[in-house]
Structures are given as structure tokens and as C-alpha cells.
């Protein structure tokens, strides 16, 4: 099967990969690029474990072909921390025990990071709505919501939230 060259940036780095048309983006990320932080949960577009940012927006990378990433800017969970410092959302998950087995966590953090970048002070309802495409089978969501609220407070306590909330385009 013919391979195609696909060019995109991922976590700020320009990449050129070879992909079969039918390769799903999540497999390109995990297998070709070795970035295994992005998980495959359901494979059926339901769980959100594979959530990444595509030009800054959270999307399910199991429901896109790698070839569709041509010219795009991607961010995965590996791109959230900068210089070894966790982003506020990651710190929130740590502080508030926002994970148990951790399988859903990368996707949750990608969705939460995108939410806090677009909505200044989301209410609890807005947070729950935003993560409604990310399923967690362990926590019952309570600590995940707390983790996101922690991140929100932390960002507001800091002078330049845009500079702090890294990740994305």
C-alpha cells in the first residue's frame, strides 16, 4: 500500500512522517512518533482517551486519519508541561487526586486545558459539559472537576495566564 508523506507540527516540533491513508491519527502518534501518552480506549469514538489538540481544539485522534493532519498543529499530553514544569491542569490533577488508574487522564487534561483557554471562569456545569466526551471509569468525576477548578484558580492567581497555560498551537 502506497505511503504518503504527511507534514505537521506536534508539540511545537515539525515532523514529516510516512502514513498509509487508512492509518488513524492516534496510531501515527503512538506508533510512528512513539508518543504513547495519547491513549486508545474504545476505538469507537466514544471514550475520549485519545483526545489531542488539532489547531488548539480538542478532538478524538482515533476518529481522524493521519493524512488529515497535513499542515496542522497538534498537541498531545506530552506537550503540556514546559521545561519540566507541569501546566496548571496537570498540577491540579496531582493536587486534587484527579486520577486513579490514569487511563482517561491524558484526554481529560487535553480537554480541560482547551476549556480553560477559551472560557475564563467556567462554572461547574460548564466544566462537566466540557468533559462529557471524556469517560472515566474510576473516579466518579468529582476529583476531576476539582482538579480543573484548581487549575482555574491557579491561572487567575498568576499575572499572565496565557503564558502559563501552555499546550496547543
Amino acid at each position: 500500500m502506497a505511503l504518503r508523506t504527511v507534514n505537521f507540527t506536534i508539540n511545537g516540533e515539525a515532523k514529516s512522517v510516512q502514513a498509509e491513508s487508512r492509518q488513524l491519527l492516534v496510531h501515527c502518534i503512538r506508533e510512528t512518533l512513539g508518543l504513547t501518552g495519547t491513549h486508545v480506549g474504545c476505538e469507537t469514538s466514544h471514550c475520549g482517551a485519545c483526545t489531542i489538540h488539532l489547531d488548539g481544539e480538542p478532538v478524538k485522534s482515533c476518529t481522524m486519519f493521519a493524512v488529515q493532519a497535513e499542515g496542522k498543529s497538534l498537541t498531545t499530553v506530552e506537550g503540556l508541561a514546559v521545561g519540566g514544569t507541569l501546566n496548571p491542569v496537570q498540577e491540579g490533577f496531582w493536587e486534587e487526586h484527579g486520577l486513579q488508574c490514569g487511563f482517561c487522564t491524558p484526554g481529560m487534561m487535553m480537554t480541560a486545558t482547551a476549556l480553560l483557554r477559551t472560557v475564563n471562569e467556567p462554572t461547574e456545569t460548564e466544566i462537566r459539559e466540557a468533559i462529557s466526551g471524556n469517560l472515566c471509569r474510576c473516579t466518579g468525576y468529582v476529583n476531576i472537576v476539582k482538579a480543573i477548578q484548581y487549575a482555574q484558580r491557579k491561572m487567575h492567581a498568576t499575572p499572565a495566564p496565557e503564558a502559563v497555560l501552555q499546550g496547543g498551537d
Partner: protein, 292 residues
């Protein structure tokens, strides 16, 4: 879950898309949001030999009022409909529809054109567009063709689009005075298709007599369909609680649900009755000028 092999082509214009469709015929599929097509390909329910990615065709994502109509480009994502204040305030029925489709991650990709072209009776836009009396714009080798929504869903999982046509725009008549609409969906959990849902769009005269009504049903008929007897019952009648209850019962009779994992046919039919009552009630209150 690996899709079967296919050839991938990125189209940059409508003419190029139509040319590719004409060349490859029914072997080709347009790829918009991919949120129905890619899951179907993963399950190998769909195995197109050619995929024409139209995400590179510019000028197909817009929401604007023009010539007394709301015009929506086919590539408009659900998330854009949800965020549009024109939609939220001017067409609350459409806002209510976009918001309950799938989940926020899916809505960042899914397009309104794909939702209609897919012609799935479980999808939410068909019922709403039937209620709104929308017109579909299809672009083919001979230019644009207008298709009334009532003719757009001819048979099971089929649309009225020709194999060499692409859906480019949806046109919705701007609401007149004392017009109101509502979409109410009942789902098991976020991201699921409707157990049942009802879309209502109606107009009242100054004395609360209904002068126009259209009712669309989701996931309780083989093809997206209207509850025409319930509509006919409402038109010419003064809106009372009794009239709403009677119309809802007619809508339930017109539905033809199948028993499945979402519930028994009996349960779903009764759900149509309840949801129709609520949707008519909300549409009436909007038509009278209330927001709910």
C-alpha cells in the same frame, strides 16, 4: 479496528470535488467531519475506494442571514452552530439541536452538511430541518440544485443527492411574527443517539390560533419523517392544553419505533407523546414571545 485501504484525495474547490465524484462514482465518498464515515469505515460497514477530503475547500463554513433566510455552509461544525449568537437567539430550535449532538469533542469536527447527507434517522438535524422547512443546496456538474427538505430523505439511509453532487448549503426561512420552535431529545447518556426526539416549529395568529405547524421526529421512523397528522390537527385550532395533548397523541401514533437496546417500541412511542407535548408547549411559548 483498521479501515479497509482507500485512496485519499484532498479537494481544493467545489469543481474539483464534483469532477472527482463524477470520475469515481459510487466508489467515492466525501469526507467532512468524518464522525459518521470514519466509525463506519473502522467497522468496515463502509469501504469506499476513494475518499475525497473537502476540508480543504474554502468558503463552505458560514452562518449568515441573507434574502430572508438563514444560510449555513455545509462545512459549518456543530461547535460553531453552538457558539453562534445568531443561532442561539434567532433560531433556538437549531441551537437546541446542535447542543445535544454527540459530545463536545465530536462537535468540534462534525459538520451540519455531513449530518444531513448521512441521512441517518437517528441523527438530530434531519428532524429539525424538516420542522423548519429547510432547503438543501446541492452542487453538481450543472451548478446548484435546490432540494426541499421534504424530498431529501427518499429511503432508508439514502439522501436525494446524486453521486456527483455535494451538499453545499442549508437554507432556513427566517422566522416570521409569532413563530416559535423547539427541539427536545431524550438520550440515555451524553453522546448517545436519541431514544426519541421531537422538533416542532409553529406560527400563531394574534388570537393564539395555530396557522402553521411542522413536526419532525428523530429515531422513531425508518427515514427522517414529519408527523403530518399531528401538524394538520394543530393548524386552524386554538392552542389549549387539550389541543397539545391530542396532537401529541397523534404524533405518537405516527411514529414507528423499533424495540432495541434503547427501549421497547411501546416505551418509545409513549416517549414521543411526552416529548411532542413538551416541544409543542415550548414552541408555543416562544411564539408568544417568551423565551421558554
Amino acid at each position: 479496528m483498521i479501515p479497509a485501504s482507500f485512496e485519499y484525495v484532498v479537494a481544493h474547490s467545489l469543481d474539483e470535488t464534483v469532477g472527482l465524484l463524477a470520475k469515481h462514482g459510487s466508489d467515492a465518498k466525501i469526507l467532512s467531519g468524518g464522525m459518521s464515515l470514519i466509525p463506519a469505515m473502522k467497522l468496515r460497514l463502509a469501504q469506499p475506494a476513494f475518499i475525497i477530503d473537502v476540508n480543504g475547500v474554502s468558503g463552505l463554513a458560514y452562518i449568515r442571514e441573507e434574502h430572508g433566510e438563514l444560510r449555513i455552509g455545509a462545512m459549518t461544525r456543530e461547535s460553531a452552530l453552538e457558539r453562534s449568537s445568531l443561532v442561539k437567539h434567532g433560531y433556538p430550535i437549531l441551537f437546541e439541536t446542535a447542543r445535544v449532538i454527540a459530545d463536545p469533542l465530536v462537535r468540534n469536527r462534525a459538520t451540519i452538511g455531513g449530518n444531513l447527507a448521512h441521512a441517518d434517522p437517528a441523527n438530530d438535524h434531519p428532524a429539525t430541518m424538516l420542522a423548519l422547512g429547510a432547503t438543501i443546496v446541492a452542487h453538481g456538474p450543472n451548478g446548484d440544485r435546490l432540494i426541499p427538505i421534504d424530498e431529501f430523505f427518499p429511503s432508508f439511509f439514502a439522501s436525494a443527492l446524486e453521486p456527483d453532487e455535494i451538499l453545499t448549503e442549508i437554507r432556513i426561512p427566517a422566522p416570521g411574527v409569532r413563530n416559535g420552535g423547539a427541539y427536545i431529545k431524550f438520550e440515555r447518556k451524553v453522546g448517545d443517539y436519541a431514544i426519541a426526539a421531537v422538533a416542532v416549529n409553529l406560527t400563531l395568529d394574534a388570537h393564539d390560533t395555530c396557522i402553521a405547524a411542522r413536526i419532525g421526529l428523530t429515531n422513531v421512523t425508518d427515514v427522517p419523517a414529519r408527523a403530518t397528522r399531528a401538524e394538520a390537527f394543530l393548524v386552524g385550532r386554538r392552542i389549549t392544553d387539550q389541543a397539545i395533548a391530542d396532537a401529541s397523541r397523534l404524533a405518537a401514533h405516527e411514529s414507528d419505533p423499533k424495540s432495541d437496546l434503547r427501549g421497547s417500541a411501546e416505551y418509545k412511542r409513549d416517549l414521543v407523546r411526552v416529548l411532542a407535548g413538551r416541544a409543542i408547549g415550548r414552541a408555543v411559548s416562544r411564539a408568544r414571545g417568551g423565551s421558554h
